[in-house]
C-alpha cells in the first residue's frame, strides 16, 4: 500500500564522529595514547612500528569481530580462546600427522570451529542454556579436545609458504595475515551497517521478543552468530599458527577476556543492541598500542598491569565525561 521511497535524499549525513556511536571517548583515548607515546619514545612513531602493531593485533582483531557480533545480540562467547586452540591442533594434525595438504588442514580446522559454534548455538537456542554457561562449557571441552589430539604436545614445521603469510610484507607494507584481518573487519563493518541480516543482529540484541514478533528468526540469527564467532576464532588460530610456525594446545588461553574487553572498550554494550565494528577496531587498537607502547617504554611488567588498568578505565570513562558535557 505505501510505496517505499528508498531514494537517497534527506539531510546531510551526520558528523563523521557520530558514526562511531559510543566510541568517541575511546577514540579520543586512543589518540591521546598515541600522542603521548610519540613524545615519550622515539621508537613509537614509525611506519615499521605501526606495521608491528598491526601484526600484533591480527589475532585479537579477527576474534574481536566475531565477539562483536555475539555481544551485539546480547550474548557472550567465552570459548573463543579454546576454539582457536582446537582449530590450530586440528589443522596441525591433519597436515602433519595425517599427512594431508595444509590447505585441507585449514579447511578441516574451520569446519571443526564451525561445529563448536553450532553446538553452542543449539545449546543457547534449543536448550536455553545461558550463553555464558554454554560457552564456558565449550571453553573447557574444546580445550580438552585440543589437548587430546596430541596428548598436549605441540606440532611444528609447516610449509614455507604458510609461514610467509605472516612474514612477507607485500609491497613492504602488509602481510597476508594483516590483510586478512583488514578484509574481515571491512566485510563485517559493511555487513552490520548495510545488510539486512546485519541489522537483524541489532534488533535481536535490542529486544529478542520484539525482533521475533517482527518476523525475524531469532534462533537462526543466534545460531549463525555463534557459528561466525567460532569460525573467526578458528581463522585467528590459523593466523596464529602461521605467525608462530607451530601449533600448541595451550594457545589462546585467556584470550576470551582480552577479546571481550576490546569489544566493550570499543563501546559495544554488553546488554546487546548497541555498538559496532568501528568501535571494536578502536578497542583492539587501544589494547595493541598500549601493550606495544609500554614495552617500548620498557615499563616493568607489574607496573604495566597497573597502567593498563588505569588507561582502560580512562578510555571508557572519557565517554561518560564527554556525554555529560554535551
Amino acid at each position: 500500500m505505501v510505496a517505499i521511497d528508498i531514494t537517497e535524499q534527506g539531510r546531510p549525513s551526520g558528523v563523521w564522529l557520530r558514526r562511531l556511536a559510543g566510541a568517541t571517548g575511546p577514540l579520543l583515548g586512543l589518540l591521546a595514547l598515541c600522542v603521548f607515546l610519540s613524545f615519550a619514545t622515539d621508537a613509537f612513531l614509525s611506519l615499521r612500528n605501526g606495521l608491528n602493531i598491526l601484526d600484533q593485533i591480527t589475532v585479537l582483531g579477527i576474534m574481536a569481530v566475531g565477539m562483536t557480533f555475539v555481544i551485539l545480540i546480547g550474548g557472550i562467547d567465552l570459548s573463543v580462546g579454546s576454539v582457536l586452540a582446537l582449530a590450530m591442533m586440528v589443522m596441525g594434525w591433519t597436515a602433519n600427522v595425517a599427512g594431508m595438504p595444509l590447505g585441507v588442514g585449514i579447511g578441516v580446522a574451520l569446519i571443526a570451529s564451525a561445529v563448536s559454534g553450532l553446538i553452542v548455538g543449539l545449546l543457547v537456542t534449543i536448550f536455553r542454556v545461558p550463553a555464558f554457561i554454554a560457552t564456558l562449557a565449550m571453553m573447557s571441552a574444546a580445550r580438552g579436545v585440543a589437548n587430546m589430539i596430541t596428548d598436549g604436545q605441540q606440532i611444528v614445521g609447516f610449509p614455507d609458504w604458510f609461514m610467509m603469510l605472516a612474514i612477507d610484507r607485500h609491497f613492504g607494507i602488509l602481510t597476508a595475515t594483516v590483510f586478512l584481518m583488514l578484509v574481515v573487519v571491512l566485510i563485517a563493518w559493511l555487513f552490520l551497517k548495510f545488510r539486512s541480516e546485519g541489522r537483524m543482529l541489532y534488533a535481536v540484541g535490542g529486544n529478542p521478543e520484539v525482533a521475533r514478533l517482527a518476523g525475524i528468526n531469532v534462533q537462526l540469527v543466534t545460531i549463525g552468530v555463534y557459528v561466525i564467532s567460532a569460525v573467526l576464532a578458528g581463522l585467528a588460530g590459523i593466523v596464529l599458527a602461521a605467525r608462530l610456525d607451530s601449533v600448541q594446545p595451550s594457545s589462546g588461553f585467556g584470550y576470551e577476556l582480552d577479546t571481550i574487553a576490546a569489544v566493550v572498550i570499543g563501546g559495544t554494550s554488553l546488554s546487546g543492541g548497541a555498538g559496532g565494528i568501528g568501535g571494536t577496531l578502536i578497542g583492539v587498537l587501544i589494547i595493541g598500542v598500549l601493550r606495544n607502547g609500554l614495552n617500548l617504554l620498557n615499563v616493568s611488567p607489574f607496573l604495566q598491569q597497573v597502567i593498563i588498568g588505569i588507561v582502560i578505565v580512562l578510555a571508557v570513562g572519557a565517554e561518560t565525561i564527554r556525554r555529560r558535557r554535551a
Binding site: M1, V2, I4, D5, I6, T7, E8, Q9, G10, R11, S13, G14, L190, F194, R195, S196, R199, M200, Y202, A203, G206, N207, E209, V210, A211, R212, L213, A214, G215, I216, N217, G273, A274
Partner: protein, 492 residues
C-alpha cells in the same frame, strides 16, 4: 477550599533544544480530583515526573503544604506523601506481588522483613481493587491488566497526601476501572489531593472535579466544571475543532480472507474458536480482561503455538510456526504490550520502523538515508510527534504506540490484527487511528481489533466476537451490538 497542598509556579522543562514544558502553573487542593489532559507528548508525564521527584525542572518553583518543595529523588517525594503511578509499569517481574507492593519500604519486625504482615497487607490492597490473586505469586506471567492493578495497589499502600495517576486505566477493562474509581473516590473523601491523567474522556466526566488542559507544554485552559461538553474539552486539547470520532465503516466485500476454525491453545486459554473475516471487514474482539483475546490473536499471528484447529488464508491452510511465517503470508499484528513486544525502546525510530520490513529492502544495501526516508514516510503518515533519528525512549507513550502501528503499515498486509491499538493514545490521534483502520478495510484488508474499550469496539467493528473465559460466547452483528448485549455475552 483553602490553601492548595501543592502549587507549581512557572515550571519549564527542556531536553536540549526541545522545550517540553513552558511556564506551567498548577494548584492542587486537598480532597479534589484534577484531570490533567492533553495530546500525546503534551508534557503530562513530564510534569508528573517533576512533581514526584523523578525529573528535575529546568525552571520554576513548587510549594508543598506552604513550604518550598524541590525533591531531588523520588524517595524525598514519597516521604513527603507525593506518590506517582507511572504511565509505564514499574514492577519487578521476578519478585512476588507483595514485595512489589511494598518495594523499598517492606514492613519490618525485629530487624527482618515481616513477610506475613507484608503478604497480609498486600492482599488487603489487592482485594480493595477486587483482585483475588495470592500476593505471594510472582509478578512475571500476570496479564498487563493485573500488573496495572498491582501498580495501583503499590501506590495505595503508600500513605499518599497527593496521588498522581498517569493513565492508570489504559490497560484496564470496565470492571477494573470501576474498582479503581471506588478507591479514588474513597481517597478523595479522606482529603487526598489527586491528579488524574487519561485519554478516556468518559472517565474524566465520571471521576474528576476540575480539568486542566496542556497543549505543547503550555497550560492552555482550565474547566472548573467536569460537566463541560467533551467536544469543548477535546477542541481545547487539540487546538482545532474535531468533527467526529469514528468514520463511517465500509461494506465488507463478502469474500472471506481469514478463516479460523476450532482453534484451541495448548494452555486452553481459548478453546474451539471459529470465525471468519472478510476482505474489507473489521472484526472486533471483546471480552473481559483475561478472556483470552490476546492469546487468540497471538496464535493467529504465529507468536504462540496452537494445539488444534486451523487458520486459513484465502482458502489456504497455514502452518504458523513463528511470526515470520504469518508475516510472510500477510498477517501482521500490533501487540498489546509496546514496551516489551512492540518497540525496542533503546533504538531509533528509524530502526524500529525498518525491523519488520527488512525483507522489503531485499538484498540491497541499507543506508542510513534509506532508513531515515523510509521512517519519515511512516511517521509523517501517522502523525508521530518525533523525528526519525530520535530514540524511541524519548517519545511520549502515545507516540511510541503510533510508531508501533506505523511500522506494520509500511507493508502490504492481507490481515491486520491490532491488540488494544489505542492504548494510551489521545483523542485526536485516536480518531486518526480509527481512520487508518477503516482505510485499511477500504483497501480490502481484513482487520481484527481487540479492545477493552467497549465504545471503541462498538465504534469501529462490522461484527464483534465476544470471548468469555476462553470460550467463544458469540458473534454480534453491528446492528445487534451495544454495551448491554456485549457485556451479557462477556460475563456468562
Amino acid at each position: 477550599m483553602t490553601e492548595p497542598v501543592l502549587s507549581l509556579r512557572g515550571i519549564s522543562k527542556r531536553y536540549g533544544p526541545l522545550q517540553v514544558l513552558k511556564n506551567v502553573s498548577l494548584d492542587v487542593y486537598a480532597g479534589e480530583v484534577v484531570a490533567l489532559l492533553g495530546e500525546n507528548g503534551a508534557g503530562k508525564s513530564t510534569l508528573s515526573g517533576i512533581i514526584a521527584g523523578s525529573r528535575a525542572p529546568s525552571e520554576g518553583t513548587m510549594t508543598w503544604l506552604g513550604q518550598p518543595y524541590a525533591p531531588a529523588t523520588p524517595r524525598e517525594a514519597i516521604d513527603k506523601g507525593v506518590v506517582l503511578i507511572h504511565q509505564e509499569l514499574q514492577l519487578l517481574p521476578e519478585l512476588s506481588i507483595a514485595e512489589n507492593v511494598f518495594i523499598g519500604r517492606w514492613p519490618m519486625k525485629n530487624g527482618v522483613i515481616d513477610r506475613a504482615e507484608m503478604v497480609r497487607r498486600a492482599q488487603e490492597q489487592l482485594s480493595r481493587l477486587n483482585l483475588h490473586i495470592p500476593a505471594t505469586r510472582k509478578v512475571a506471567g500476570l496479564s498487563t491488566a493485573n500488573q496495572q492493578l498491582i501498580e495501583i495497589a503499590k501506590a495505595l499502600a503508600l500513605d499518599a497526601k497527593l496521588l498522581i495517576l498517569d493513565e492508570p486505566t489504559a490497560a484496564l477493562g470496565g470492571a477494573e476501572t470501576e474498582a479503581l474509581f471506588n478507591q479514588v473516590r474513597k481517597l478523595r473523601s479522606e482529603g487526598v489531593g489527586i491528579v488524574y491523567i487519561s485519554h478516556r474522556m468518559e472517565e474524566i466526566k465520571q471521576i474528576t472535579d476540575r480539568i486542566v488542559v496542556l497543549r505543547d507544554g503550555v497550560r492552555v485552559q482550565e474547566f472548573a466544571d467536569s460537566a463541560t461538553p467533551v467536544r469543548t474539552i477535546v477542541e481545547s486539547m487539540v487546538g482545532r475543532p474535531l468533527e467526529r470520532m469514528f468514520p463511517p465503516l465500509p461494506e465488507p466485500s463478502g469474500r472471506p480472507v481469514l478463516q479460523v476454525s476450532g482453534l484451541t491453545s495448548p494452555a486452553r486459554s481459548f478453546r474451539d474458536v471459529s470465525f471468519e473475516v472478510q476482505s474489507g471487514e473489521i472484526l472486533g474482539i471483546a471480552g473481559l480482561v483475561g478472556a483470552g483475546r490476546t492469546e487468540l490473536v497471538r496464535a493467529i499471528s504465529g507468536a504462540d503455538p496452537i494445539s488444534s484447529g486451523t487458520v486459513k488464508l484465502n482458502g489456504e491452510e497455514l502452518r504458523l510456526r513463528s511470526p515470520a511465517d504469518a508475516i510472510a503470508k500477510g498477517i501482521v499484528m500490533v501487540p498489546e504490550d509496546r514496551k516489551d513486544q512492540g518497540i525496542v525502546v533503546t533504538h531509533r525510530i528509524s530502526e524500529n520502523v525498518v525491523y519488520p520490513n527488512l525483507d522489503m529492502f531485499g538484498r540491497r544495501w541499507i543506508t542510513a538515508k534509506m532508513k531515515r526516508t523510509f521512517a519519515e514516510q511512516a511517521i509523517s503518515k501517522f502523525g508521530v510527534k518525533g523525528r526519525a533519528e530520535q530514540y524511541a525512549s524519548d517519545l511520549s507513550g502515545g507516540n511510541q504506540q503510533k510508531v508501533v502501528i506505523a511500522k506494520w503499515l509500511m507493508r502490504d498486509p492481507k490481515v491486520v490484527i491490532l491488540d488494544e491499538p489505542t492504548r494510551g493514545i489521545d483523542v485526536g490521534a485516536r480518531a486518526g487511528i480509527y481512520d487508518i483502520i477503516v482505510n485499511l478495510a477500504k483497501k480490502g484488508v481484513a482487520v481484527i481489533v481487540v479492545s477493552s474499550d467497549l465504545e471503541e469496539v462498538l465504534g469501529v467493528s462490522n461484527r464483534i466476537l465476544v470471548l468469555a473465559q476462553g470460550k467463544q460466547a458469540g458473534i454480534l452483528d453491528r446492528e445487534e451490538a451495544n454495551d448491554v448485549s456485549v457485556m451479557e455475552l462477556a460475563t456468562i
